[in-house]
Each structure stands twice: as C-alpha cells, then as structure tokens.
Amino acid sequence: MRLYPHRILLILLAAALVVWCAVSLRWDWLPKYLPLIAEGIWRTVWILVVTAVLGFLLAIPLGLAQAAGPWVLAAPARAFCTVIRGTPLLLQLWLLYYGLGSLFPQYPWIRGSELWPYLRQAWPYAVLALTLSFAGYEGEVMRGAFRSVPRGQLEAAKAMGMPRLTILRRIWLPQAIQRALPTLGGETVLQLKATPLVATITVVDIYAVAGRVRQDTFIVYEPLLLLAVVYMLITGVLVLGFRWLEQRRPAKVA
C-alpha cells in the first residue's frame, strides 16, 4: 500500500472520526463491562475455532465421498450439503435447540440419562449447528479441491504400488487442502460472521454481551460500534493467519 496524498487525508479523516467517536459518544460503561466483553470475545473465538476444526474434519469425508465415492456414499453426502446450504443457519439453529428441546418432555428418560447435563445447556447445540453448517459448505469446497488434483499424480502413486490410504494421506489430501486454502480462509471469515446467531439460543458470546450493555444502559450505537470493531479485528487476524498458512507451502508439493 503506497501512501498517496489522498490516503494521508483519508487516514486523517478516519483518525478524526475515531477521536470524535471517542470524545462525543458515551463510553463510560466500558470499564464496568470489560470482564464480560473479554469473556464474550473468548467464547466467540472458542466457538469459531472448535466448529471450524470439527466442521472441516467432517468436510473431508463429505468432499471425498462426492468426488470419488460410490453412489451410496456420494448421494447422501450431496443431499446433506444441499440441505445445509439451502436453508438459513438461523433456522437450523432454532430447529436443533427449540425443536429438539420441545421433544424432551415426551421422553422423560432423556432427563435421567448421563447426557442430560450437556443437553441442558445451550452451547452443545450451538457447536453442533455451526459445525454441521461449516461441514456442509466446506464439503462442497473439498469436493472441488479433490477433483482438481491432477489424476496423473494419483495414477503414478498407484503404479508405484502405494496403498490407497497412503495415497490419500500423502498425496491427495495435502494437495486438495493446499488448493482449498484460499477459499477456506474466506469461508472461515463467513463462519465468524455466523457466530452471533448463537446469542438467540442464550449462548453469551460477544454479540450477546453488546446486547446486555444496551439492555442495561439503553446505549444503542456504541456497543454496536464496538462489536463491528471486534469482528473486524478478528477477521484481520484470520486473514493474516490464512495468508501465512498459504505461504508456508510444503516443499515436497511445490
């Protein structure tokens, strides 16, 4: 990024805007809510990381089944991805939390089961819904990535007598992931942007904390501004992280 005169002007304008926001808007609530805000950010990041990792692990078999699997595996994988991608995440989340929840009273044994302490809380549903959603979108990405690996390499490995699992582990999967990385970076940002939905099922993430500030103090815009800044910062970290990952090409593949 070159520093043209107009950019200096824009930066000055932005700085002026920040100063104006800091001076003329109300921020006196900030110190009191800092611990809650930190907790909220932590929970948002935690949910993002857990669901993205679990979702990606699920996406690999989903993509593989669609790219190379037999019909019995490919069709359900395809159907799963279509359903997840074809319906709003908010609806999936409410279906899992309130829909499943409304079934509990009909089956009293659920409350006696060992899973009950988890079923009782909200975060397992949030993690499940976001994981399935990420898996659905990434399954589609991985399908393309698996297909884009040149056939010749796989055939060469087969000709060398490499077992199928080894081919997958050493050749097919690493290259597919390498090819999918730029898309994955963007998709992880999208996943971050999906996390505030969990606030609607009582999970206290950073979005819910901002809501709490508004409910307590009736200050509307300042918490929203803070939210926007927090999400932009996390996005920045994600973008930089993925750029670093992309540049770290394994020497053998390159």
């Binding site: 074809g86 319906t87 609806l91 409304s102 942007k193 932009m232 996005t235």
Partner: protein, 247 residues
C-alpha cells in the same frame, strides 16, 4: 408414516386455512422473496457501479470502495443490519428534522431491502469486478477502435460478455440473499423465519414448523438453482462458438 403422525400430531397445524398456520408461513415466504429480490436488485446496481468505480475510478473513489467492501465483508450481517436499521433511519430522521422536514416512516420492507442491498452490493462489487476483468481485452479494444462511446461499450460489449463469467457468483449471491432475509427476524420483520417462530411459539409445535420452513427454503433454493443454471447456459450461449472458432 403412522409413527410419524403419532410423534407429530401437530402436522395438521400446517393446513393453509386457519386454524392451520400454513397460510402465515406462505405469506412470510412471499415477504422473504420480495425482500430477497429487492436486495439482490439493489445489490446488482451498487455492485455494477462499484465494480466500474474500482476498475476505472479515481484513486479516492477506489480507496473508498475498498473500505466499503472490506468493512461489509468483515462485520457480521446481523450487526450491520442492526446498525443500518436503527442508526441510519435515526440519522436520516434527525437530519430531516433539523432541516425542517417531517420524519419519514421507513417501512420494514424498504428498510430490509436497503440493509440487505448494501450488504449484497459489497459482494456483488467483487463478483462483477472479477467478471469484467475476465472479458477478453481484445473485444473491448476492438469496440474502442470502432469509436464506440464508453456507455454503449459497457451496454453492448462488456456487460453481456461478462454475464457468463458473473453468473455462478451471482447465483451464489442470490442464495445468500434468500437466506439472509432470515436475519430480519431479529429486527421483527414478518418474513418466513419470524412467521415460523411466531407459529411455533403460539402452538408449541417447534419441530414441525421449523422443519416445514426448512422445506420451503430448500424448495426456493432448488428452484432458483435450476433457474440460474438455465440463465447461465443462456448467458454463455456465445462462448462455445468462440471457443470452436479459436480451435
């Protein structure tokens, strides 16, 4: 099937006529489609202007557009919707009042379209910019050499030629538009997800209604996917011949 009916005696609640709530769901679906269409259209307008601005605009315009697309793509739609829905109508009204005009009443429909349109515009800018860049330079240069004025060049050459390249991205954007309408449930707009929530809350048949709404969204997605496939084939109708000529 019997087990299904036994487990969900509430299936009758989906009937289209009262006491069934199916009619409410369909009304919500119509609202959702209206907002999605409006937002998608507005997004296309913003996106076309934005793409041209990013490609051919001055340095200031380009930087401002970069800020717009970066911010919109980094901040959750839910937060943007809240900011735009409350702050922007508030600012507009304060400005109007301070200049001596009466407050405007922003209808939920218009606000929803505007908010989602601004979000869509940022993504559309990127999709269309990529598509315009994909148009072979030779075609544009040939038209310029023939003395075609810029607006006619855009209308006759660049826009039709890029449509094929833009179609997959635009189809994806449309699907995002239909699904993002669900977020307006959070600000209380009566689209499909909110109607579903109301029906579910009133009848306590959460499972039935959320599944039914899912089926409606899925139908919308599948139908639009088929439609966009046809449009893409139509938009690319010239491509194959060119490829053949080249080969």
């Amino acid at each position: 099937m019997e087990a299904l009916l036994e487990a969900f005696p509430s299936l009758g609640l989906l009937a289209l006529e009262p006491p069934g709530w199916g009619g409410n769901l369909l009304r919500g679906l119509v609202n959702s489609i209206q907002i999605a269409l409006g937002a998608f259209g507005l997004g296309l307008v913003i996106g076309t202007l934005g793409a041209y601005g990013k490609l051919y605009g001055g340095p200031v315009l380009r930087d401002l557009l970069a800020i717009y697309t970066t911010v919109v793509r980094a901040v959750p739609e839910l937060v943007l919707i809240l900011i735009l829905y409350y702050a922007v109508t508030d600012l507009v009204n304060q400005a109007l009042v301070s200049f001596g005009y009466a407050r405007v009443q922003v209808s939920g429909l218009m606000a929803g379209i505007a908010v989602l349109g601004v979000v869509q515009g940022a993504y559309a800018t990127e999709v269309l910019r990529g598509a315009i860049l994909a148009v072979p330079v030779g075609q544009v240069e040939a038209a310029r050499a023939m003395g075609m004025p810029p607006v006619m060049l855009a209308r006759r050459i660049t826009l039709p030629a890029m449509l094929g390249f833009a179609m997959p991205g635009l189809a994806n954007l449309w699907l995002i538009a239909t699904k993002d309408t669900a977020l307006l449930a959070i600000v209380g707009f009566g689209e499909l997800t909110l109607e579903t929530r109301q029906a579910a809350g009133s009848t306590k048949a959460y499972f039935t209604f959320f599944l039914a709404a899912g089926a409606l969204y899925l139908t919308l997605t599948l139908v639009s996917g088929w439609l966009f496939g046809r449009i893409e084939r139509w938009a690319r109708r010239g491509d194959r011949e060119m490829g053949r000529a080249r080969g």
